[in-house]
Symmetry: C2
Subunit: 253 residues, 2 copies
DNA sequence: GTCTAAGCCGTACGCTGTACGGTACGACGT
DNA sequence: ACGTCGTACCGTACAGCGTACGGCTTAGAC
């Protein structure tokens, strides 16, 4: 019985919680929705580490164990959180309707997901487990597939292409979050980090052993003033990926 | 002071540990290398959750607090682990030398990283923080840049392209690990999961509201017999990405 | 009014990382 | 050979975690 990391032991139970009514309140006003909202708020403001059953309960003015009346455990709570986080940004399925070409549509999708991760960075810590198919994720999936519909991809290719874009954004967001986190932990900006660490690395990495990476690493470091630039990474990768998808269409004739 | 999540508060200290001598042993045979090896072995066989200071110490037949003589804390230990994990696969910098075209070279790089994550899945849990620039990562960076050298990319583009490929592989590996983890947690295969959950989803997702995703999701589910196919995801994405990079070269003339 | 089910929650257990202070040993100066 | 000192080692303790268990309290059915 792991104490950490989401991943419901009983998917059916979680599905019931996700799709069922979440507003049924008990006699102290407690409800699934209230619990999840409190947890999300805690995660947004103080990070996922602050989301403990004790702290969520305290925020609600309720005993710790009362939460277990409504939620089977922390695993399920985090799964509910990850669906709730999508509620803000994907309320209207129809918004990015088929206006414009597919490329600008997918760019919109990518930036929307980027914003999502900026707003709820803790989502990155919950990902990487069996996808939680909640109502809001379904809306999201529908909305994000539409730009790819009818442009010459097979159904399976549509799914693959979307997954590719979403995975890329997730990776870029993870890199971005890495910078933020490390920055405020060390109290140093990236530029300062580069100034401090750069010389050490140059000393330890003799150019004989690292001819290519010495040159390239310096160039990239100079260009970004940091060990990496997630925002540039997002745009560069998205451009290459969309080019690749374009080629997939073209080759069909 | 966070109790969880790597990210050294003192990067210089970690750098010293990474690049300095790790074999200096005390009077009970304890050394940085021994500690890190024990931790890696624990993570490989029982997952990252099993890597606690107490368990590592017990595995070494040593008191828990003795570890702190050699390692400042768990944060630094995990950083040392992530560099050590690269040791097996990237011992020889020169192996994937400029034989063959760049495309097959990068395919080799991608599969090598895929293998890395299969062998040490816990690496995925440590990523997403400031990159730990250890000696083995430096070897890796050098080796992986070489296929891209001299094919018409700028230095910054070389770095971007490599990052793109590596991020993609990481995402695919994360999806793969999600399947593994959830599978052995629920005791169900993906096919069984699909059989169990599929009907529930079809009932709850009326086709009026989800016209595109209903069709595409079914097709993808049928094709993969699972909510996703990480291995297919790896190949499909890599092909699109390399096509995109090829286009970047071609456009230059 | 009574009974029952469900909501609420205090306590306790085993786990975590690590601060602190004490012990014991290896090396070195004399 | 002997005292001294730095350092390796480690026992204990503390705050925090998820949650099992059992008891209390209350709303609703009859």
């Amino acid at each position: 019985m792991p104490t950490d990391g989401p991943g419901s032991a009983n998917p059916a139970r979680t599905l019931g919680l996700l799709w069922g009514p979440q507003d049924r309140t008990g006699r102290s006003g407690l409800s699934i929705r209230a619990i999840v909202d409190a947890a999300v708020d805690l995660a947004d403001t103080q990070g996922m580490d602050a989301v403990s059953m004790r702290q969520v309960a305290e925020k609600l003015g309720v005993g710790t164990m009362s939460l277990y009346t409504h939620v089977p455990g922390k695993t399920e709570l985090t799964e509910l959180m990850s669906d709730r986080a999508l509620a803000d940004l994907y309320r209207d399925v129809d918004e990015p309707r088929s206006q414009g070409d597919w490329r600008s549509g997918m760019t919109f999708v990518a930036h929307r997901n980027w914003d999502l991760y900026l707003r709820h960075p803790w989502l990155l810590e919950l990902l990487g487990f069996r996808p939680v198919v909640g109502p809001h994720l379904s809306d999201k999936y529908e909305a994000e597939l539409r730009p790819l519909d009818g442009i010459g991809l097979s159904d399976v290719e549509m799914d693959s292409a979307l997954t590719l874009v979403l995975t890329h954004v997730e990776g870029a967001a993870r890199a971005h979050q890495a910078q933020i986190g490390a920055r405020q932990e060390s109290g140093r900006t990236d530029a300062q980090w580069w100034v401090q660490v750069g010389p050490i690395l140059e000393k330890v990495m003799d150019t004989d052993r690292f001819p290519v990476s010495g040159r390239v690493g310096s160039a990239a470091g100079q260009a970004h003033q940091a060990p990496g630039d997630p925002r540039h990474m997002l745009d560069f990768g998205l451009a290459r990926i969309l080019d690749g998808v374009h080629g997939l269409i073209g080759n069909r004739g």
